[in-house]
Amino acid sequence: MSRKASSKLINLDQLFKVVIWLIPLSITAIFIWILSDIVIGGIGQISWAFLTTNPLDAGRDGGIAPILVSTFLILAVCLVASVPISIGTAILLAEFTPNQNWFGRLVRRSLDVLAGVPSIVFGLFGNAFFAQTLGLGFSILSGGLTLACMVLPILIRSTEAGLRAVPQEYRLNSAALGISKTSTLWHLLLPAATPGLLVGLVLGLGRAIAETAALIFTSGYVDRMPTSLLDSGRSLSIHIFDLSMNVSGGDSNAYGSALILILILLIINAIAAWLGSKYNYLYD
């Protein structure tokens, strides 16, 4: 190779290196830009009164108390409905089904598709099924159940991963001692798989609390304090959407709500990371 060509190659290598450092730098910069914009815009809004009073004047004034309550109720419904189904499915897939079993494969495939379904389609389905066919109307119950369908794939996947991480010797020892499968599951496998389950739970919560499109036509827009699960309740994310799109002059309270949402998500993320690291060295 001539000297000129080889120096050209080295230059190309250098150029590539510059590009490859520039991209993460700019992504980081944009991330900081978004976050600082929300923090700077929202920090002035947040106070104890903001968290504990009702919204006034379509949300331009006042706080977000009923919205926080509705959000947590929706999440609670979502978890109560999705956790038993996910744990059951994950146990079946990880412990009681051979990998080539047709039923297991079918369930896994359908969950893979479910994981990709757009949230607005979940919204349409929730509206047609929970709100109309089951007659729940625009309510916290409809919204929570719609979200439960949505987080199932995440919950099942991480619970299954948690169960599969339990060493095979545990099962063999237990079988050698003549302990029934049910007892093995209850006393050995489930406690051992709890961290995986918790990580999944936290990730599912994060997905659910970030959701907007699936809730617009299921849990509705009403920003009053809900008195029962059959009341319509506005989630935090819908509140942000409504204030920024439909209410002129709602931006400052939208900033405040967005900051609260981001803070909740950061806490959720930190918990997931902490649980994840705890669980990684359990069996190493």
């Binding site: 190659l9 190309l12 290598d13 290196k17 450092w21 991209i23 993460p24 992504i27 980081t28 991330f31 978004i34 914009d37 929300i38 189904i85 059951g88 499915t89 146990i91 079946l92 039923f103 079918l106 369930v107 359908s110 969950l111 598709v113 479910l114 990709g116 379904v117 757009p118 607005i120 389609v121 919204g123 349409l124 389905f125 509206n127 047609a128 066919t133 369908c149 199932l152 099942i156 499968k181 049910t182 599951l185 970030a210 959701e211 907007t212 499109a213 617009i216 036509f217 994310s237 942000i240 959407f241 920024s244 799109m245 939208a254 967005a258 949402l261 981001i262 998500l265 993320n269 990371a273």
Partner: protein
């Protein structure tokens, strides 16, 4: 001394104790059946709700009617399909190289500590709610584009926001694909005196090809399905855009905007667009499966 416990049980209870394992398996199968049936239920309900309008005007109407004006029985979805297609195409075109390069950075260029922090950052970026992206786009990005070329709410704003939103998907999948590459390949390349960029072009990318392809499919699915962010920054005018600065409306935004007051055939037509989205997602899922099987 009291009798052994099992003897004092009713027949039903003792049957249950003896068959505990079987009962448990059937209970679990029931729960798994529920989980597996949800996607089927979604499909059935979308079809059921879209049937009335499909039977009345047929599929062709959605592509050949004069305009989207459901109140006057005209259901042309073509402008919205353009909207979804163009935002998807633009964002995938931008996010794919950026995401792959950022994963390469993580694996082959960054010091260990920076790579770990950067990965956490990408995960956080993936976790930001779409409504927050949309809000940021509305208050920061749209005014900037407006100064460049009014009105600001535009195809370009949609592409920018979507690129940010789907970038973590491809970056994380590419990261996982690169982690699977056998160490010997890289050592071999080094021993042959291949340059760093040469190794990446000729060894890393071809080896991880199918993983990267799955990443692209996943990000495409996300771009098609995204609702709130594009709804907030795209302007939502029903039109086929002439330039990148024109406002557009996507299929998803159309559903979110009109579902609140849609009745009868109008509502049914919105379910047709939902069904269309679901079909695309199912096709993408099948494609992923096929690529996965080939490996």
């Amino acid at each position: 001394m009291s009798k052994p416990k099992t003897l004092s049980q009713s027949p039903l209870q003792s049957w249950f104790t003896r068959h505990k394992d079987q009962c448990l398996v059937w209970l679990l199968r029931g729960l798994a059946a529920i989980a597996g049936a949800i996607i089927l239920l979604i499909l059935i309900f979308l079809i059921k709700e879209s049937l009335p309008v499909l039977q009345e005007v047929g599929i062709k109407a959605f592509f050949q009617d004069r305009a989207w004006n459901p109140v006057e029985q005209s259901y042309n979805l073509v402008p919205m399909i353009w909207g979804t297609g163009l935002t998807m195409f633009g964002s995938v075109l931008l996010a794919t190289p950026l995401g792959i390069l950022s994963a390469i950075f993580c694996h082959y260029y960054a010091p260990q500590s920076i790579a770990i922090i950067y990965r956490r950052l990408i995960e956080l970026l993936a976790g930001i709610p779409s409504v927050v992206y949309g809000f940021w786009g509305l208050v920061v990005l749209v005014p900037m584009i407006n100064r460049l070329h009014p009105p600001g709410t535009s195809l370009l704003a949609g592409i920018c926001i979507l690129t940010l939103m789907i970038l973590p998907t491809i970056a994380l999948v590419a990261d996982a694909a690169f982690a699977e590459i056998p160490q010997e390949y890289l050592l071999g390349a080094k021993a042959m005196g291949l340059s760093a960029s040469g190794t990446i072009w000729h060894i890393v990318i071809p080896t991880a090809k199918s993983g990267l392809l799955i990443g692209v499919i996943l990000e495409t699915g996300r771009a098609i399905g995204e609702t709130m962010a594009v709804l907030m920054v795209c302007g939502n005018v029903v039109q086929t855009p002439d330039s990148i600065f024109d406002p557009i409306r996507t299929l998803t935004a159309n559903i979110a905007l009109e579902m609140a007051y849609a009745l009868g055939n109008h509502r049914s037509a919105l379910f047709v667009s939902g069904l269309l989205l679901l079909m695309i997602i199912i096709v993408l899922a099948i494609a992923t499966e096929l690529i996965d099987q080939e490996v």
